[in-house]
Symmetry: C2
Subunit: 432 residues, 2 copies
């Protein structure tokens, strides 16, 4: 990827460029679009050059996807989506972009909509999950620098053959970040239905606190591990292009919004927490293969097979079997369990395992924090706290800045609350 | 306009190109789209190269227009529509085109959607009522000649500046005819919710008969005079480019459709009727200006004023006033009455009329037939038949192939039935 060349021109501009992204619940109806316009007005009146990226009105994408599912042939699960699916579904953002432009015009602002093919947001041709290749600085950059507000349809782009592409669910975040990178924006504000990123999901623990700042890497782990506030790809992109991201609520009063959470470089965070957040991922399932012959290449065979079937594997544990050979267990998204079981059943003789067990009643609880790099004892705190509550750890996986454990579903929320307290994240103990 | 150059290439092709257009009720849901696909299958299996032009799903355009009206600034009534309106509303046909393509794919056909900007359907920039300037033969022509079915989003195009344009209500008919002209199609079949063009509206007279053939000129008069089966502009275009049009029902069984009505050149109709059809237009209103000074230039002043206000005037009658000067009365669409009254009230002193009367309770009844050119007595038959029923004629206007009279609304349906019988159009007396 060699995109976003436009960013080099930043130096010659006088006014800051700001990208503002509004999700589906923020543009659910025309009344809510008027609230969106009030947020845009704040930035426009401050003299900034504004790009607004919008999602489809809440519920619209689901409605369009259902129509496609009814009309069309089954989607090849592992292949790219049908290009007609993209054509149909992208209409949702097209409608929002036009309506938000109209709303801004009614308030007296110059505004126009830009579809993916007009900006253009150039993507590869992996329809349904396309990646943005390039957004040229022109004509969008010149347009906003004249004071015209650009309302860009999120989630969509145009492939090299001129067909409409979509970026996959949550793709409007990615559109916003890519626009910010391409246009050298001062910041990219993601307006959503929550007022920032929390130490954990407030529905799991009333002690959850909003974080003022969180690093790209932490956010990336959080997005991958169940926090739904930002799409993983958009955080990756922000990290790669150093786009200053902010998550804030469109449900606050537009004239006195809360500051939200800034997602930035680790170096820009002065007071680093050892652990910043606890996440719970419910979309997990486990397979255990018992008594796999303990020969070189068996693990490669198993995971090669699953990779060929397009299944993402996580949390692999291998241990000696009491009978013979080794037991190998691993996790995947719950939706991929059935396919994984099918693939492994077919290959039973080839792999040579004695028995297969699968389990949907598992969840993954993770503690995340850049401070782990320089502090020891994070893991032992975790295991001790969970142990004291009698919570059995089935699998463990770690990275430089997170530790994840797989536990029985029933204990998920208890584990989150326990760890939230154990790492000093509870409201009473921290700021905000 | 110097478009449709592609038509010249017809000679080198082997298979006939056919354009099939399906309106909103024919694509109202995915089930109905499957019926549409069955009609397309018939033509595709016959080895033709197929273009399908589609409208938005029934109700969708109204929904989108309402959203625009809610969000946007008031539309400047006399100017072009807001380009964002076009962006929003055109999404309706985009969705249908993708879904119909998916439906055809599910049946095993190669099919793809084409949006206005992809074909491209190049239009002028009169947004909301754009006129098609050109549809190049390529890439659409090559695509269909490989056997791929092209599903074109009707009603929309792209202006020179790359913005989405729409052709105005009913514009999908125009898209279909323009495609047929551009691609040198053998015929353009307009599938709709009626099985053809009738001697009069079957809801007005049970004696109405379907016409096998009707000339472009008759159809043009019928479309302008209240028959809603085809949009006027599409008939004009068909006449200009000699596109063989057919109106037929998508509600018949796809494997044995009724023949519908062919709209063709007058010379291709062997048995010409003196009168082919009777129409009733309810969207009429009348203004009478009493005692206008009888001086040269007063009529020019009145109608110049109304033209400047964008009001289309019809059926002008001037007669001497019993008091002084002349009485001038004229008709217009009912929706334009209020504006016309406003304009004339403002200009009362300038024009110098004594009194203005307006009347919404009027309808226009017309008899249409190319046979009028060579037969006399058509008008006297009309006046005699209406007179015998005690129906008073307020205004009269004529063209070479039609006579229209303005009468009180209450008598509209009686007048239609009376004339339908008087000209021998009743079912018992004719064929079909």
């Amino acid at each position: 990827m060699a995109p976003y060349l436009g960013a080099e021109k930043t130096a010659v501009r006088r006014m800051a460029r700001i990208v503002m992204k509004f999700g589906g619940t923020s543009v659910a109806d025309v009344d809510r679009m008027r609230r969106v316009a009030a947020f845009v007005k704040r930035e426009a009146d401050a003299g900034h050059s504004i790009v607004v990226a919008v999602s489809a009105m809440a519920g619209e994408t689901n409605r369009l996807v259902a129509l496609c599912a009814d009309a069309g042939p089954p989607d090849p699960a592992l292949d790219v989506r049908n290009v007609e699916y993209d054509t149909v579904v992208a209409s949702g953002e097209q409608v929002t972009s036009g309506l938000v432009a109209l709303t801004l015009q009614k308030m007296g602002y110059r505004a126009r909509s830009w579809q993916g093919w007009q900006a253009p947001v150039k993507t590869d041709s992996a329809h349904g999950k396309a990646r943005i290749l390039e957004i040229p600085d022109e004509p969008l950059g010149s347009a906003i620098d004249t004071g015209e507000i650009a309302v860009v349809a999120g989630f969509q782009g145009v492939a090299a053959d001129g067909r409409i592409s979509t970026l996959g669910r949550g793709g409007s975040d990615t559109t916003a970040v890519a626009l910010a990178a391409a246009l050298g924006a001062e910041r990219c504000d993601i307006y959503t239905d929550v007022d920032g990123v929390y130490t954990t999901d407030p529905r799991l623990s009333k002690q959850a606190r909003r974080l003022d700042k969180v690093s790209y890497e932490e956010m990336l782990e959080m997005a991958s591990l169940g926090a739904k506030v930002l799409q993983t790809r958009s955080v990756e992109l922000a990290m790669a292009y150093k786009v200053k991201l902010r998550v804030l609520s469109s449900f606050e009063p537009p004239d006195s919004p809360t500051p939200g959470t800034t997602i930035c470089d680790e170096d820009d965070i002065v007071e680093k927490q050892i652990v910043s957040a606890i996440t719970l991922s419910k979309d997990e399932a486990k397979i255990s293969l018992l008594s796999v012959p303990d020969e070189p290449g068996r693990a490669a065979m198993i995971f090669g097979l699953l990779a060929d079937a397009g299944i993402n594997i996580d949390m692999i544990v291998q241990s000696p079997s009491r009978q013979a050979g080794a037991n190998i267990s691993f996790t995947m998204a719950e939706s991929e369990l059935a396919r994984a079981v099918d693939s492994l059943t077919l290959a039973k003789d080839k792999i040579g395992y004695v028995q297969m067990q699968s389990d949907r009643n598992v969840v993954k609880v993770s503690v995340i924090g850049v401070g782990m790099r320089s502090h020891t004892g994070v893991a032992s705190t975790m295991f001790k706290a969970l142990g004291e509550k009698g919570i059995n750890i089935q699998n463990i996986s770690t990275s430089e800045i997170k530790i994840s454990v797989l536990i029985a579903s029933d204990y998920g929320e208890l584990a989150v609350r326990t760890l939230h307290q154990a790492y000093g994240l509870d409201r009473a103990q921290g700021a905000s």
